[in-house]
């Protein structure tokens, strides 16, 4: 019944949107943007940090990776860690198929260092054409790495996932991600969340029967939080909030603070 009501409500909203849209005038435009787009996140739970560097001309299909860039992260103690350029088909996974692209991998193990809780890191990118990108992040404080979670059964028709976590110094927000073979469901919350088995957002469900789901709660820094906490405004076109100098995108940091593995049925 609830699903039917939700569907009817969505149909009503769609109808309300379609009525005016049916009268719209459309015209082809030619964007003339010459921007750099960078996505970089320092994740304390992994040794390999990936940075994507792309060109943006305003048209999505023209967005492509930039090879030949010099990507480096400067640690709190001033050491420069250079990232290596690789061609990879797994780092950037855009449905329905992985995208083979150039990415920049920073292997902390190669330098024998780890990410420091509360540390301030800087990102430096020098493009082949001389343009530069700068960013900085302060990693939220954390105590220790998470232990691998024990799989738990989860009944989508009956169970509710309730998570509570403590505040983390330096965190601007907390992201809850639920990933499975059907994709990624994510949301931001304060220090607790309660998700029913049939919970969904606009375009996807959180849980799918028959699949294993990885649930991760991450404390995130201000850059990450600002960049991902909102989408482009439908009417005004205001997009994500970026803090990079010289590029669109993000250089942020996250600290996974809780995780669960759910065998959903």
């Amino acid at each position: 019944l609830h699903t039917d009501i939700a569907h009817r409500w969505r149909a009503l909203l769609a109808l309300a949107a379609v009525l005016p849209v049916a009268c719209v005038d459309q015209q082809i435009i030619a964007p003339k943007v010459d921007a750099i787009f960078v996505q970089a996140v320092l994740d304390v739970s992994t040794n390999d940090q990936y940075v994507t560097v792309e060109t943006v001309d305003g048209t999505i299909k023209h967005q492509k990776a930039i090879p030949g860039a010099q990507v480096a992260v400067i640690t709190p103690d001033g050491h420069t860690l250079a990232a290596e350029e690789i061609v990879d088909s797994e780092t950037v996974v855009i449905s329905p198929a992985p995208r083979v692209t150039t990415v920049y991998r920073l292997s902390l193990a190669k330098y024998g260092v780890g990410l420091i809780a509360g540390g301030a890191y800087q990102l430096r990118i020098l493009l082949p054409d001389g343009r530069q990108v700068r960013g900085s992040t302060i990693i939220p404080r954390f105590d220790s790495a998470l232990a691998p979670p024990t799989p738990e059964p989860f009944d989508v028709s009956r169970d509710t996932l309730a998570l509570v976590w403590p505040r983390v110094t330096g965190a601007s927000g907390y992201e809850v991600t639920i990933s499975s073979q059907r994709g990624l469901f994510s949301l931001f919350a304060d220090t607790a969340v309660s998700l029913a088995g049939d919970v969904r957002n606009v375009d996807r469900r959180a849980f799918y029967a028959g699949l294993t789901h990885q649930v991760v709660v991450s404390a995130v820094d201000e850059n990450y939080y600002d960049y991902f906490r909102r989408s482009t405004d439908f009417f005004t076109g205001e997009g994500p909030i970026g803090h990079l100098d010289g590029a669109l995108g993000v250089f942020g940091s996250i600290v996974p603070i809780a995780s669960r593995t759910l065998i959903v049925h």
């Binding site: 957002n201 996807r204 005004t236």
Partner: protein
């Protein structure tokens, strides 16, 4: 006509008006407008010169004029030497009433002769002539139009009218309409007023933000008077007696807003016979009923409205269209023989969509306003306090009201929830003392607002339409004001006042001085000037940039949200070209301080970042040529030029979204026999808009796989904006037409109407929507397209 003579006794009512701005228009005067039963309630006013005396005479039954017998209230016996009244019925159609007064007295005269209702202030004889045109036009009600001209003339002659426009409910309904008559949409047609889009019944006044308008129902605040996302206002057509809009130089009795006051006065029935109206439009059905009682000293009216699309569709499939809105409004007024008057207004409105019963599994919401207010006023002759005379007469008023606004939306298991509640309780009062050339008013107002704003969403696709935040406020305000309307000479009116507001919990307190003057260059030509200071401590999180603003998201002032200030200066000229045609021009300059602009980067989990402090200016000029009266044509041409700028805290200047430079509205209605034709032509320059210059695909980081992934089946498209409001939408062009036929059917007045919005189907974008995923496109989110609507109004 014989039926008229049989039905009721003659009633002649003389309501002698008040001194400038000291009181609201007397309700009996307003009631003249709406007899509602098709029997003419006629009044014509002739005054000698342009002195302050005003008079309105209504005869509901012409056949009994011969028995007109005017007597005085016993309380006025002592003043009888100063008053002479003579009624000399000349014919069945014309009666002459002469009143000569030598001092300031309050008098009401009726055939039964008992009650004080008003005041006239003149040392020269006043002559009022009542002329009943029911002989020539027993069904049509031209009096409704002549009353409008009369009221405006009274205002011109007796008050400072800076920035004030008054319209009757009938006048507002004469313009072409969208689906059904709507007060707020009609107000948008006046000069100095503009709307962000056709999808909102909200409006901007003289360049101010849309939350800077104080909207009152019979003097009681109403916070978000909209239905269906702003397409309709909450005011039910038949209940609207008069609308008064003040665009600047606000008198000190109004506080808490920076830009304007819109006061909607309830209609009061005139007939002692139970009567009412039924109206059916494409959207809703409206019913009203009312009558007078206590020999015309009291009246009541109740009206309701409900949309019916859900009921019709549900006949075919249950719960297929789970949305409706409804209103109910009641107004009761009673006047007593000792000069006391009590009025009560109650309103309750609701929008309901989907099924919300407390469960977290459902989708939908409800929102609405409730208002209850009571006003007690008393007019006293030769009042005294502590042995001292307070003046020739005085009016004391005490008001108490409770207003509630509540919004609740639930989407998908509480992943998005909006809950905004405002509870406003206020008590206020005033004493207006009339003496000599002065009218002094002293008043107070104590108000408290409890505001809760809890809007959370796990996803942000709702964008700025639904601001996300979690806030609570408990604001209180204490206000004192004093005002003096001084008429040192017959040609000059000066009004000066001072308002003191203290606001908790901010601890803010401030003085708001206001002064205005009007100088009559001739009996039909006056110049005006005014200046004022204003404060506002309730703000809206709603963003002007959004073409659709379903609600006004109210929050209060606190340590993070300062009290906003504004100062304005106005100057104007008003000329009555003929007794029914007036020309009004007004220039304004307004400067804002601590203006709060919603922060587009607001974090829903953080408090204190909801607004950005801003400053700014607005200046411009309004032009209004208005045809009133009982002739076949009524209407107006209004033009506004305005220039608005805002400056951010770091000194950046930009044009706010409401910065419409040119706005021309021509509105008219022509009566031709049983038909009334209406037309509205609107031409307006484009509003500022922020261009979107490109897009990019954003991925999400999956901490479980350490991969960048997409959360949707296609890359998430994000926009790249150009400079803020650096482009403009194209010019807005729109022509609306309507036709209304008046007739009688089964003893009732039946008026079917057809109205066509945007008859030329002009493409007027309200915003642009961009897509960069495939071939980059710019699509316009349109304003109202060609929409024919029809309905019928039945008065019985």
């Amino acid at each position: 006509m014989r039926a008229f003579a049989r039905v009721a006794p003659a009633v002649a009512l003389i309501a002698l008006g008040h001194v400038a701005g000291a009181q609201r228009p007397d309700s009996s005067f307003a009631a003249l407008r709406s007899d509602g039963n098709g029997i003419p309630a006629l009044q014509t006013l002739i005054t000698d010169g342009f002195a302050e005396q005003t008079a309105a005479v209504a005869f509901t039954r012409v056949a009994t004029l011969a028995r007109l017998n005017l007597t005085l209230d016993p309380q006025l016996a002592a003043l009888s030497s100063k008053i002479s009244i003579a009624a000399r019925p000349r014919t069945a159609a014309v009666a002459l009433v002469e009143i000569a007064m030598q001092s300031h007295v309050s008098v009401r005269v009726s055939t039964r002769g008992q009650i004080v209702v008003g005041e006239a202030r003149t040392a020269s004889p006043t002559r009022a002539v009542a002329r009943d045109t029911s002989i020539s036009s027993p069904v049509a009600l031209p009096a409704m139009r002549s009353e409008a001209a009369q009221f405006e003339q009274q205002r011109f002659e007796s008050t400072e009218t800076l920035g004030a426009i008054s319209m009757t409910g009938v006048g507002l309904r004469s313009a072409p309409m969208f689906i059904e008559p709507d007060v707020l949409r009609s107000v948008q047609l006046l000069p100095g007023i503009e709307a962000r889009s056709d999808w909102s019944a909200g409006f901007n006044v003289h360049g101010g933000e849309s939350d800077q308008n104080l909207i009152l129902l019979d003097g009681y605040p109403i916070y978000s008077p909209f239905h269906l996302g702003g397409l309709f206002s909450t005011f039910i057509g038949p209940t609207v007696g008069r609308v008064e809009l003040r665009k600047g130089s606000l008198p000190v009795r109004y506080g808490g807003r920076l830009s304007s006051v819109l006061d909607v006065t309830s209609a009061e029935p005139l007939s002692d016979r139970l009567h009412g109206t039924m109206e059916v439009s494409l959207a809703s059905a409206i019913g009203s009923v009312g009558r007078t009682f206590a020999d015309g000293d009291g009246s009541w009216m109740i009206a309701g409205r409900r949309t019916y699309a859900d009921a019709v569709i549900n006949l075919y499939k249950r719960d297929a269209f789970p949305y409706h809105f409804q209103d109910v409004q009641a107004h009761l007024a009673r006047r007593f023989g000792n000069g006391t008057r009590i009025s009560v207004t109650a309103y309750d409105g609701l929008d309901a969509g989907g099924l919300v019963d407390g469960s977290q599994d459902e989708v939908g919401g409800n929102w609405g306003n409730s208002v209850v207010g009571v006003t007690v006023s008393k007019t006293a002759v030769a009042p005294q306090a502590f042995g001292r005379a307070l003046g020739d007469s005085a009016t004391f008023e005490q008001r108490l009201s409770f207003t509630r606004f509540s919004t609740r939306l639930d989407v998908f298991d509480a992943l998005a929830r909006a809950d905004n509640r405002v509870a406003d309780i206020r008590v206020g009062g005033s004493a207006s003392l009339f003496s000599g050339s002065h009218t002094r008013t002293f008043g107070y107002e104590l108000a408290q607002q409890r505001i809760s704003y809890q809007t959370m969403a796990a996803f942000s696709v709702l964008g700025g339409v639904l601001p996300l935040d979690s806030l609570r406020f408990r604001n209180g305000s204490i206000s004192l004001f004093a005002d003096d309307v001084w008429r040192p000479t017959a040609a000059l009116i000066v009004e000066g006042g001072l308002r003191l507001d203290a606001v908790t919990p901010t601890g803010w307190h401030g003085l708001s001085p206001r002064v205005s003057a009007k100088y009559f260059l001739s009996p039909r030509l006056a110049i005006t000037a005014g200046a004022g200071s204003y404060a506002q401590w309730l703000h809206s999180l709603g963003r002007e940039e959004e073409p659709v603003q379903p609600f006004t998201y109210w929050v209060g002032s606190d340590a993070n949200t300062p009290v906003s200030r504004a100062r304005d200066v106005t100057a104007g000229i008003e000329r009555w070209i003929t007794p029914t045609r007036m020309l009004h021009m007004e220039a304004f300059y307004k400067r804002y301080q601590d203006l709060l602009i919603p922060n587009t980067k607001d974090d829903q989990l953080a408090a204190g970042d909801e607004f950005l402090r801003s400053g700014g200016t607005s200046y411009g000029v309004d032009f209004l040529l208005r045809q009133l009266g009982s002739g076949p044509f009524t209407g107006w041409i209004g033009y506004s030029y305005a220039l608005n700028t805002r400056v951010t805290a770091d000194g950046a200047h930009y044009f706010p979204t409401q910065d419409r430079r040119h706005n021309l509205n021509a509105v008219g209605s022509w009566r031709a026999g049983q038909y009334t034709l209406g037309a509205r032509i609107n031409l307006a320059s484009g509003l500022p808009t922020t261009p979107v210059i490109g897009g990019f695909a954003r991925s999400r980081y999956n901490p479980a796989t350490h991969r960048w992934v997409s959360t949707t089946s296609t890359p998430t498209e994000e926009s790249i904006q150009g400079p803020l409001n650096s482009a403009r939408l194209p010019w807005y062009e729109r022509i609306d037409v309507s036709v209304n036929r008046s007739g009688r059917l089964f003893g009732a007045d039946v008026s079917p109407y057809l109205s066509v919005v945007n008859v030329l189907n002009s493409r007027n974008p309200a915003a642009y929507i961009y897509s960069f995923t495939g071939q980059p496109k710019q699509a316009s989110f349109p304003n109202l397209p060609f929409i024919p609507t029809f309905g019928v109004s039945i008065a019985y």
